[in-house]
Symmetry: C2
Subunit: 307 residues, 2 copies
């Protein structure tokens, strides 16, 4: 199995590579080759054959080069995050829309029966307020950000290219990733992912990606873009969970700071997603925020933290 | 008022021009200038100042030229129809997606406070089966054709460019146009629009366009793409209405011929649209198929037909 990962240097990309390297196989098939692509060359893990490529998919010819090795499985994670896409209109459309379209066109142009499984990371930002109490799977896409618009367009393209049998796509709408490793980026969700600051495995998200990679086509039908299950809770509830598990001193480090841009973006975000189809198709999310904090402490911090 | 109409040589375009010329004004403002654009130069009606332009919006620089005169109102009707977009994948994306995006980008690039009302003709093809008994306004967009995909993407772009205040958009999802003048085109709905063969004013559709052009921004909110009310009936009911009004000899001219491509496309189409928001916003459709046939006979055929 040859796997291409775009956006491999990003938060999800790095965690996904770690997981694939650890597993050594996916869907029962051994992984022989990994192509890792990002705008900066991703780090190369030791193990099987790995190429790390610095490329911009939207630049002419780059997408064709990326799929020239005919990877059988592609994780398309590359993208500009929500806050950045809102601040830089041209960059957001170029990376999130043109880059995705270039990848799909490169796959289609390969022809010759080439039809890889393409797992596309979309976002719940494809939905926009006002919302019903719970958002059903058949809720319309009325994004209120350029990022959400670009993700919705990516989903539509993925579905059409899949229907036309140019590729075999699955789109997964990730809920907000609660804890991001490293430097804060401009994702609008950073205001709450930043509350718990250290790297925490977005374990459920990686599980979604792997599950999407191996999901039988027949189980999906034509509606290939799926909202993923997340934990629905307020930031106050997140802080309470952190306090319960890590204590008052850790929780006391949180500072309140209003950011008007982030506030406006997040106001239009959905709060509770049914994700019924995804659950029925075997996608598993975390069950509570306490569990998310515990996983972080147990798995990523060896059971300890500085209190 | 300076109005630009793209796709002005098409069925809806010609009827819209007729209506605007007849009215001489829109929303209480006199029309001073009309720019009519299509891939072939549209016919120039007599009356006020009219330019007819042959241009392909997706070609470099053409969209910028089209908006250089800063029209205050744009009807963007240009597009490749459903059957053609299905048969010619590249052409469909080039005209329906790239052409629309080029127009939006040309408007945005004008800058300098230029923010025209842009009425975009979308289609109920943005919806895809399976459907609930009636399709609510907040039903998701899961098109089952490339045409529907391109229209859904156009809607998403229109909404984002409007939200960013680059233009002032309204998207209207037209139900199938029942009777098309002139030569049959490759619209998949042609199989039933062709049943009543002579030109019939798509009066409701033109009414929708004019209403969308003058609808106050504040009434719309951020969800600017609206499903339009249509008459929901089967082809058998259409034929029965024709028989009631025009008699057995006229109805006997209909021949049954199966077209697998059309059958597959139409199978995925919605059958009953709530269009509640559009009705509340004052969009008025016809109330029965009998009314549609009567309007055709009274208005377009001077009250007579060859029985």
């Amino acid at each position: 199995m040859h796997i291409l990962i775009t956006g491999a240097a990003g938060m999800i990309g790095r965690k996904l590579v770690e997981r694939l390297v650890k597993d050594g196989a996916i869907g029962g098939r051994p992984i022989e080759r990994l192509t890792l692509l990002d705008v900066v060359a991703p780090a190369k893990p030791a193990g099987f054959k790995v190429e790390a490529v610095a490329a911009d998919l939207a630049a002419p010819g780059e997408a064709a080069k990326a799929v020239a090795g005919r990877p059988e499985l592609i994780f398309h994670l590359a993208g500009v995050v929500s806050g950045e896409a809102e601040l830089d209109f041209d960059k957001g459309y170029r990376v999130n829309l043109d880059g995705t379209r270039a990848l799909l066109e490169a796959i289609r142009s390969t022809g010759d029966g080439y039809r890889p499984r393409l797992v596309y990371t979309s976002s719940i930002a494809v939905f926009g307020a006002p919302f019903p109490a719970a958002i059903p799977d058949d809720f319309h896409l009325t994004p209120l950000t350029s990022y959400g618009t670009q993700k919705a367009i990516g989903e539509a393209l993925l579905a059409d290219y899949t229907r036309r049998q140019f590729c075999d796509g699955v789109g997964i709408r990730l809920p907000s990733i609660v804890v991001r490793p490293g430097k804060p980026n401009k994702a609008a969700s950073g205001f709450f992912s930043g509350i718990i600051r250290e790297p925490l495995a977005p374990r459920a998200a990686i599980g979604f990606l792997v599950h999407a990679a191996t999901l039988p086509r027949a189980a999906l039908g034509p509606r290939i873009n799926l909202a993923m299950p997340g934990v629905s809770c307020t930031v106050a509830e997140q802080i309470a969970a952190l306090r319960r598990i890590a204590g008052d001193r850790v929780a006391a480090r949180i500072r309140r700071a209003h950011d008007p841009l982030v506030a406006r973006i997040v106001e239009g975000w959905p709060q509770r997603i049914d994700a019924r189809r995804a659950r029925e198709l075997g996608f598993k999310g975390e069950s509570s925020f306490d569990e998310i904090v515990r996983i972080h402490i147990d798995e990523d911090r060896g059971g300890t933290f500085v209190a």
